[in-house]
């Protein structure tokens, strides 16, 4: 058979970044931002995220919280991402991001309220422009592209510093059109947006190998003409470096980036899921060997930055923080039922007055 002569048209590489190996030893000298203060702060926030998760799951088991998606095993990605953003940047999270939300200033009460069935939990006091947690898969990536357009537009119109939009997702989201469409537009319009994919290996029960036949998730960015990097997602320093570098370039109007952070979901998909139905205990046990919190602790202890005494103090402080937040959440007055109408439109349309009054009368009747 005739074989045509072909010429190489393009070739690509995907780089991988790691600072702390699975045992918590540095594989290269740490970047400047990774000061003792930053490292211990990250360590604290990762443990706080883990504690909030643990309590949230327990609250669900006792019927005090609705379905909750734990972040267990992915704390490094969220904490490093949330920490890298400036207050004025805009975060567009998916639903498994307790660590990042805490870093953005979202309170534990708000997180509990949201999963406890109270919309006020998405009315963030300290992250006023961040998007609410996105439940449909990958749609937040397009919102982030739109946000990034608005940020760039403001920068061009008013000469204000260029801010960045950051979207997070799981690797399952990269199977969706929204993911490709967002990256494609971001590339064409050179938008200041960073996509952080938490590759935790499982989209509910479907393993990464059944989601895509690509060698890496990062290479999907090549199709959109935007730079990508794969990092060890259980290495908080590596994730932080990648996000910071992507943010720096986006702020300099150099355009978007994709970061694939390799991690592992150590928990069920949500409290409504039972992962033992579809994955082996052996796989789970292996994944525990490279989880992010223990890894950082080993490094910190090796550097003389952590001790049993410090850990005891921290554990006590975090428990108090959690307890105070729980009490504050549980003592919160319930939202008036009429709130379901109050925020549907900016002003209640006349056509809805009757239903609004009907609800008020029902509530009145229930009180009498």
């Amino acid at each position: 058979m005739h074989k045509p002569r072909l010429q190489l048209q393009a070739s690509f590489d995907i780089a991988w970044l790691q600072y702390l190996d699975k045992q918590g030893s540095a594989t290269q000298s740490l970047p400047e931002f990774a000061s003792p203060d930053w490292l211990t702060h990250s360590f604290r926030q990762m443990q706080l995220a883990r504690l909030v998760d643990d309590r949230a799951v327990k609250l669900q088991r006792t019927g005090r919280l609705g379905t909750y998606p734990s972040t267990l095993g992915q704390e490094a990605i969220g904490v490093a991402t949330g920490n890298a953003l400036m207050a004025e940047d805009v975060y567009c999270p998916y639903y498994r991001e307790t660590g990042a939300l805490l870093e953005r200033g979202v309170s534990i009460e708000e997180i509990l309220a949201n999963w406890g069935g109270d919309e006020r939990g998405q009315n963030y006091r300290h992250a006023p422009q961040d998007l609410p947690i996105c439940i449909p898969i990958a749609t937040q990536m397009l919102h982030a592209a739109g946000v990034a357009f608005a940020l760039k537009y403001r920068h061009q119109q008013h000469g204000t510093p260029l801010q960045v939009a950051v979207a997070s997702s799981g690797e399952g989201a990269t199977s969706k059109g929204d993911f490709y469409e967002a990256m494609n537009l971001a590339g064409v319009w050179k938008l200041p947006v960073v996509f952080v994919v938490n590759n935790n290996q499982w989209a509910i029960s479907v393993p990464r190998s059944a989601q895509t036949s690509t060698h890496t998730i990062a290479q999907k960015a090549i199709a959109a003409g935007i730079p990508a990097l794969q990092v060890d997602g259980n290495d908080v320093v590596a994730v932080a470096w990648a996000v910071r570098d992507a943010l720096r370039r986006a702020r300099s109007d150099e355009g978007p980036a994709l970061i694939e952070a390799i991690s592992y979901r150590l928990c069920d998909h949500t409290t409504a899921d039972d992962a033992s139905r579809y994955r082996s205990g052996e796989e789970l046990q292996q994944a525990w060997q490279w989880e992010p919190v223990a890894r950082l602790e080993t490094y910190l202890r090796g550097e003389g930055l952590w001790s049993d005494a410090k850990q005891q103090d921290l554990a006590r402080e975090l428990a108090q923080t959690m307890e105070a937040a729980l009490n504050s959440w549980e003592s919160r007055a319930p939202e008036p039922a009429t709130a379901i109408f109050d925020h549907l439109y900016a002003q209640l349309p006349e056509g809805l007055y009757e239903q609004y009054d009907q609800l008020r009368e029902e509530l009145q009747g229930a009180r009498e």
């Binding site: 998405q122 422009q129 998007l131 919102h143 608005a150 469409e181 549907l344 439109y345 006349e350």
Partner: protein, 335 residues
């Protein structure tokens, strides 16, 4: 800025409203497929990119879901995006963002963020277009809490309602009846005056019968009313214009006089807005009725290719037949 009342078509009124708001509100950005250099497939954005620049009037890649989705992100940060879909038949990939996000953002953040978006789309049949270009599925959107669905039926209402839609703090689906994009010219002052949303317009007064229609069907409905008038029957013609939330009160007010009603729409009948209007009329005004509410609609079929589209679309004759059924109804034998 010009305030002279030039005689313009409906599609020109859309352009005029977009230009007015682009000139007066720097937060307004307009985007979609082919809307820049080409001025849109129907020329609704003709000349806007030249006048306002490619930073504010943008051609997007070809992806309706993307167009719907980025509008959400833009709007949450204070922009007023006006997104064009080439045809309503192509809007469905964007449904997820319109229904799941744009319509709910204010509510789910308890007012922290909102989506002042206008999604524009030419809709309806009658222009000999290919498949998927002629749908009239406004009921899908009218069903969704948090959305507004607005349909103009004249150049003046297109101008005034589009301005109102862009200025509205909530998302609006603005459906443009493309069959009458160029059917009539009308003087429209370019004065930036918006028309009220959520208000029906009485297009013709009469005491014998209420005809309700919107979009392109208003044309045939008015023609039917004129025909009835030659027979001594005066029909009141009401254009709800905002289909959601619906101004049922104006319709009931009319029924106080006429006691008989026909709803006309080119959308399929089952679950169409005629059903909603008829249901509300019987809830609020059962005692006023001298006859069942008649519906004159498209059939519950797929909108046919254009050789048969006139068979599908309700014309003057079907509206007259519906009117006569309502007028001729006599309740027999009491209960």
């Amino acid at each position: 800025m010009g305030e002279s009342a030039n005689s313009i078509t409906l599609v020109e009124a859309v352009t005029q409203a977009l230009a007015y708001e682009l000139a007066n509100d720097p937060q307004v950005v307009v985007f979609g497929q082919d809307i820049g250099a080409n001025g849109g497939v129907f020329r609704a954005t003709d000349g806007l990119q030249k006048r306002f620049g490619a930073e504010r009037v943008l051609d997007t890649p070809l992806a309706e879901n993307m167009i719907a989705g980025i509008a959400v992100g833009m709007a949450t940060q204070g922009l007023r995006p006006v997104a064009e879909f080439q045809f309503m038949g192509f809007i469905y990939p964007g449904l997820d963002h319109i229904l799941s996000h744009a319509a709910r953002m204010r509510n789910r953040t308890r007012g922290r963020l909102s989506c002042p978006i206008v999604y524009r789309a030419p809709y309806g049949g009658g222009i000999h277009a290919p498949e998927h270009h002629s749908e009239s599925t406004e009921a899908i959107f009218a069903h969704i809490p948090g959305l507004r669905v607005v349909v103009p039926s004249s150049p003046a209402r297109a101008y005034g309602l589009l301005l109102a839609a862009i200025r509205d703090p909530d998302p609006v689906l603005f459906l443009e009846p493309k069959r009458i994009y160029r059917a009539v010219r009308q003087p429209v002052a370019d004065d930036g005056e918006a028309l009220p949303l959520d208000r029906a317009f009485v297009l013709r007064e009469g005491g014998d019968l209420t005809l309700i229609a919107w979009g392109a069907s208003v044309k045939e409905t008015l023609a039917a009313a004129e025909q009835l008038s030659t027979e001594g029957i005066e029909a009141e013609v009401i254009d709800p214009a905002t289909l959601k939330p619906l101004d049922i009160h104006s319709i009931i007010d009319s029924l106080e006089k006429t006691r008989r009603c026909v709803v006309v729409h080119e959308a399929a009948r089952f679950g169409g807005l005629g059903a909603e209007i008829a249901a509300q009329i019987q809830e609020y005004a059962f005692d006023l009725l001298d006859a069942p509410v008649q519906r004159v609609t498209g059939y519950d079929t797929v909108m046919p290719y254009y050789q048969l589209e006139q068979v599908y679309l309700p014309g003057v004759e079907r509206i007259l037949a519906g009117a006569r059924a309502a007028l001729g109804y006599v309740r027999e034998g009491g209960r």
